[in-house]
Symmetry: C2
Subunit: 337 residues, 2 copies
């Protein structure tokens, strides 16, 4: 796989992105084009004596899309921004996939405007893997689009199931619809209509409504929702986990010798657990529904998260998921005719 | 305060409800009418030798609304169900407030049909207190209504702010709108329209959009959202906390002697923290916007949660919050004319 990596998108750029790329080319069979400010990228690369022997190249750009900008306008106006140039590299066929930890809105807009949507898809969806005790639950859409129509949620369900099957290797994945109750009469208009459409589908394993409490347990392999709800849920989960760990740390610091010794003894066990639950172990979320491989990482990604996201991009491309999705959608469209 | 307590609503009824009532009448200055099956209630009461000296009475009912029933239909048809009779006791003036841990939908429907809405309120809202390191953030609506219009969210903001001010004692509370970004251009149609309405209000301290990650941190005192999103968020939080603690326990069980000793030493600190974060410390959520005091508790409430919810009902009634809300809404309506 040859990856176009947006070296300027994220909180710690380009340092963490470049370091993640160096780890990744050593770990996975891939080539990486670092897209961004050449001087700044070289500054980091030179910290690694062997970098010139690695399959890394630089594509210089001098514009950056900031977090506050209107995504589609910024993509249209800043033709020489790192995310636009990186996405163009996929469009031209020079690279197989694009990965960015910058503005999610800009990455989605660039993918939609440059790569275009797959036939049969009204709106692309970000598919975020949520770590669970059973493995992973894919939550989509987690923020690419809001006010989605029921057919868009159905398309997300189809794409999510295919992704889980081909990338995560789980056959016949259980697909749930995020809702406020188990019964099919529950929910807002969007959820009630979507339930009826899902119920009549034979091509995916729809197993009913998923409630909020089902997201972290692994009861479903794929949970489908509107991007507004998905974004709120994901950020709430982040905030909650951070708050809980901060409070545990404060409590230990304020506690006696017993608490401190206890924390010390328990640490290896908790670290192992934290690793299992760490979202950065997955590193990135694919944007499904566009005609090309696009992976979106969290703005706060460090080198480890970027390296893991590159590993995920590798799997995603090598398993030909895009072709599987296209074929499935063509079958769906034919079945409708 | 005299409370109508639905003794038949919840997972462990009537035992936990009755036990919670006994604790509450000893702890708070209140009278309680236990509404439900007299034989079953007496069975529990008789475990307490002093129960006849306590300010407890029983109102017998022989119908129960189950979780799966259509709420409004069930309320209309089961005139002798515990939640309907309990709500009628408030309507008739015999009791000051009603509390139920049964079907939320049925409690909301009973309140709407029997107590009616306050003038100026299009839809009532459940206001759930979320424990944070700073105290509490009130999330509303957390499930009474879905597909709310922007004006309903504004009404929730007004009611939530008054509740925080008068019951939780925080002056000029910060009100946020749950959204997928900080900028006012972000969000779905509902959120964008609501933002504009909030921005032009001078009667409440609107401090902008709240993201999912802001819910558990205490950055806002009141967070307003549609009941669909609020319900998903609350249940996700429950599921996530349960999953994390289950995994910590499993990790400790599977760990070595060090981990077990560490857990033992750390336990008092963690228990103190868990208490601070325990939602059952608040026990219940007021249903704001109906013309009467109605408190909704979680189905899994134990005696402690019920007792705490009764304490909350006590504060809610004694501080005359309903009158404050009515006055504020009349002012809003007059300002609009």
């Amino acid at each position: 796989m040859k990856l176009a990596l947006d070296a300027m998108g994220g909180d710690n750029v380009p340092a963490e992105i470049v370091k993640g790329a160096i780890d990744a080319v050593k770990k996975f069979s891939c080539e990486i084009v670092l897209v961004g400010n050449e001087i700044k990228i070289l500054e980091i690369l030179r910290e690694f004596s062997d970098w010139q022997s690695l399959p890394l190249t630089i594509k210089h750009t001098d514009e950056v899309i900031e977090m506050g900008e209107h995504p589609a306008d910024a993509v249209r106006n800043k033709k020489n921004s790192s995310i636009v140039v990186a996405t163009q590299l996929v469009k031209s066929g020079e690279c197989d996939a694009v990965l960015s930890a910058g503005s999610t809105g800009a990455a989605v807009a660039a993918a939609q405007l440059i790569l275009k949507r797959i036939k049969g898809i009204g709106r692309p969806a970000i598919a975020t893997p949520i770590p669970t005790p059973e493995g992973v639950t894919l939550l989509l859409d987690s923020g690419a689009n809001v006010d989605s129509k029921p057919e868009h949620l159905i398309q997300s369900g189809i794409m999510g199931a295919l992704y889980v099957e081909h990338v995560l290797g789980k056959k016949n994945p259980k697909v749930g619809l995020l809702n406020i109750g188990e019964e099919e009469t529950k929910g807002n208009e969007q959820a009630k209509e979507t339930f009826q459409l899902f119920k009549n589908m034979t091509t995916i394993n729809f197993t009913g409504n998923a409630e909020g409490r089902d997201i972290p347990t692994g009861k479903f392999d794929v949970i489908v929702c509107d991007g507004f709800v998905g974004n709120v849920v994901l950020k709430f989960g982040e905030g909650l986990a951070t708050t809980i760990f901060k409070l545990i740390k404060e409590a230990i610091d304020a506690g006696g010798v017993g608490a401190k010794l206890g924390a010390l003894l328990l640490m290896p066990t908790l670290k192992e657990l934290a690793k299992r639950l760490d979202a950065s172990e997955y590193g990135g979320a694919p944007l499904l529904g566009v005609n090309g491989y696009c992976i979106i990482s969290h703005g706060s990604s460090d080198a480890k998260a970027i390296c893991n996201a590159i590993g995920l991009a590798n799997e995603y491309v090598n398993r030909n998921v895009l072709e599987h999705i296209k074929t499935a959608l063509e079958q769906e469209l034919r079945a409708k005719d």
